[in-house]
């Protein structure tokens, strides 16, 4: 069986991403985040931590009155993201990005990322096993 190496890995990763379980790699998505509360965050990257078991994007978002509101956005497992093509340089401080995400149940400015539109316009997957279609 001849396989494209990266297609193989990406396929396997996609299987995890879309297998329908309630897994965010090693903990429960549902215990922390709410599918019923999607949110789109447009803001400026403060920090991108590509660390295990989950990456974290710190982003400043303009609030309704123009004030700066800081959000913490969890991504999927960084090893899986790296196999998709992410690197620690995918996000840089100052980048203007848009994140499609799901809010934390506690109402804090915490969310779980599904996709990120990067500063160069590419829209990349950052999600987890429960990331719904269309998000």
């Amino acid at each position: 069986m001849k396989l494209n190496v990266y297609a193989f890995l990406l396929s396997l990763f996609a299987s995890a991403m879309f297998s329908g379980g309630h897994a965010v790699a090693h903990h429960s998505f549902a215990a922390e985040f709410d599918f019923e509360k999607p949110v789109t965050l447009q803001g400026v990257v403060v920090k991108w931590e590509m660390i295990n078991p989950h990456g974290w994007i710190t982003v400043d978002v303009a609030g309704p009155a123009g004030q700066k509101v800081r959000w913490m956005v969890e991504t999927s497992n960084p090893n899986g993201l790296m196999r998709l093509g992410w690197t620690k340089n995918t996000l840089k401080p100052g980048d203007q990005i848009t994140i499609d995400a799901y809010r934390a149940k506690d109402g804090s400015n915490t969310a779980n990322a599904a996709r990120v539109t990067l500063a160069d316009g590419r829209r990349v997957f950052a999600g987890s096993a429960t990331t719904p279609q269309g998000k």
Partner: protein, 290 residues
């Protein structure tokens, strides 16, 4: 072991190659998991002593992924020619072949229900070792395991949790007065199948992140069968007379990952900031906002 690229070099190479193949990936072939035969398979890779060579990097296969291919990083073409994501296929909630139903004693079922309402308690969510068989029964397709083998040992090096199992092949007895998250593993070859008897558990591990669990009376019999050069059939029978009224059977395949890949670092505690956000309805401290 041949030299591997540096972490960042590998990351860059991966990113470049991913971009190169965008839109030109190959579909996967259908998953086949026949029952292992007793007849020696002459097509299998073998060690000089004749045992099947299990060495390599492996990834738990997902029942739902076959036929999928990745078209691009934007996630818009994950499944050409089929339902996106492939549905659940023949698999269970996490994509792999579903384990048989857990049949608990009444007391254990109450405990399972309590844990299901308190996912905050999941040991792996707080970076403890997963136990057996959860070490392999991770979310499908996500964390590879490296197998290294000689005549005396079969070693499983898991990316997830940096879990390591070094299994002697001499069927030696379990030690006394030793209890551990992963228990103690003793292996033996039965024809071309590597059979592992696992005991001496500390009784604290969960079987998954849904609250299914075992106690210190857990006993696992694992069977690793190389059914073709790129597929290991993994079977596990879990018995625990103080938890289950019948054995729990698990069966899924591990697929070979191309040789230029490697285990990556998994420093679990570094970025673990999730438990602090768990809400009270799952046993956490945060109050859910409706």
């Amino acid at each position: 072991m041949k030299a591997v690229p540096t972490y960042y070099g590998f990351a860059v190479a991966t990113a470049m190659c991913v971009l190169l193949i965008a839109g030109a990936s190959s579909p996967m072939t259908a998953q086949v998991t026949p029952a292992p035969s007793n007849a020696p398979n002459k097509t299998l890779p073998r060690l000089p002593g004749g045992r099947p060579d299990l060495q390599g990097l492996w990834l738990k296969s997902a029942g739902g992924f076959q036929g999928l291919f990745i078209g691009s990083l934007d996630g818009t073409n994950f499944a050409a020619g089929g339902t996106r994501g492939g549905g659940r296929g023949a698999g269970g909630a996490r994509g792999g072949p579903a384990p048989s139903r857990f049949e608990y004693t009444p007391e254990a079922e109450a405990e399972r229900n309590y844990r299901r309402q308190n996912l905050y308690l999941d040991p792996e969510a707080r970076c403890h070792l997963p136990g057996v068989p959860r070490a392999l029964d991770q979310p499908a397709g996500l964390y590879p395991v490296q197998i290294i083998q000689d005549e005396k040992y079969v070693a499983l090096l898991h990316e997830a949790m940096h879990d390591v199992r070094i299994i002697p092949t001499d069927n030696s007895p379990h030690p006394k007065n030793y209890w551990a998250w992963d228990g103690d593993s003793r292996g033996r070859w039965e024809g071309d199948t590597f059979v592992v008897d696992v005991s001496n558990f500390n009784g604290r591990a969960w079987l998954d992140m849904e609250g299914n669990f075992v106690d210190e009376n857990e006993h696992v019999l694992e069977r690793f069968t190389l059914i073709d050069p790129d597929t290991i059939l993994y079977e596990a029978t879990i018995t625990d007379p103080t938890v289950f009224v019948k054995p729990v059977e698990m069966r899924f395949t591990l697929k070979r990952v191309p040789a230029d890949q490697q285990i990556l670092e998994y420093s679990c505690l570094e970025g673990e900031r999730s438990l602090q956000n768990y809400t009270q309805e799952d046993g956490g401290k945060k109050v859910r906002v409706k």
